[in-house]
Symmetry: C2
Subunit: 170 residues, 2 copies
DNA sequence: TCTTTCTTTCAATATATTTTGAAAGTTCAG
DNA sequence: CTGAACTTTCAAAATATATTGAAAGAAAGA
């Protein structure tokens, strides 16, 4: 397969993949394009290569920057802004974990705490099932919270080394 | 807070949460409703409690069954079908991991293998960046594959015990 | 300052997803 | 069988999300 074909296959697949993760297709495609570009690209490059409008490119690049996956790059002598993506996938993954934890888990935990304080007779089956389920989710969430924090702190080598060995040797 | 209010708050939040995960809001709400219901519910119960149409209830219950999160339950003497959800969140989580791995990672891995065989001169910067990035993603995916398989096999106690301790003590 | 180049915004439009509900299909007791 | 009770389907409608492109805004060189 030639590079051009491989590149467009990669972009298409990364886009499809992204939609399963609550990320819109275009954002994932821009990310894919930057991941395989040796040099930073301008908004214009992105528009041309993906056939999208200026507004769309601008908006999704901003969102990628917001997620910490893409950075603006100044190229001396150039007036335009350029963009480049972090290429180390372990760093990409930990950054995504960091952001999603902040946007989801950290918001869910206080809600669960509030819900666990429901009033009512514990001998009432409906009350018991509710509180038991919430407790179970709470416990799980708090462990997940700690585990994800540790993953964020961990370095790639440790993850790809000990953790996997630990898991697979079980 | 009274049970009714807590229940509807839980359903609303679980629904909001679900949309971040590529699951539609109604499906997540039905799941939430079944999670806190002591007894199995009929399609009619679900329709009434969530104010949704028959078709919608039917479709999303089917999808939940397809994901392995909900089961049909026969109640003797009743002609209707009833539905109940697995309440152990660790089991829910491993089931979701199992399914998403099947639907996403297992499809991505062969694509990456194909893409890693791109032709071209390695001294060409564009080719080098492409192959390096794909290789990096491949390595990560294969480790993630093994890690997730191990998590699926692991039991709750082990997860909530050793793994977390291991992570947080790092 | 003025002009050019580039970036951002946002209302309108296009596209995709979800929901409805009536009709068709199925099951089963009598 | 037959008919009542229940489930499934699916085209149309409603809703939500993404995209466009022109206009406004900002930055910087002359």
């Amino acid at each position: 397969m030639q590079l051009a074909e491989a590149k467009s296959k990669f972009i298409a697949n990364w886009g499809r993949f992204g939609t399963n993760w609550g990320i819109n297709r275009t954002m994932a495609q821009i990310h894919a394009l930057l991941l395989v570009s040796p040099d930073p690209l301008s908004a214009e490059d992105v528009m041309d290569q993906l056939n999208i409008s200026r507004g769309n490119a601008n908006m999704n690049l901003r969102e990628l920057i917001d997620w910490g996956l893409v950075q603006k790059v100044i190229i001396s002598g150039e007036r335009k802004e350029f963009f480049s993506a972090e290429k180390d996938i372990w760093k990409v993954a930990t950054q995504i974990i960091r952001e999603r934890k902040k946007r989801e888990l950290d918001l869910m935990i206080p809600v669960l705490k509030e819900l666990s304080e429901v009033e009512g007779d514990k001998r009432d089956k409906a009350v018991k099932t509710f509180t038991d389920t919430i407790q179970n989710i709470r416990k799980f969430s708090e462990q997940a919270d700690k585990t994800l924090d540790a993953m964020i702190r961990a370095d790639e080598h440790w993850f790809l080394g000990s953790l996997v060995k630990l898991f697979v040797s079980k």
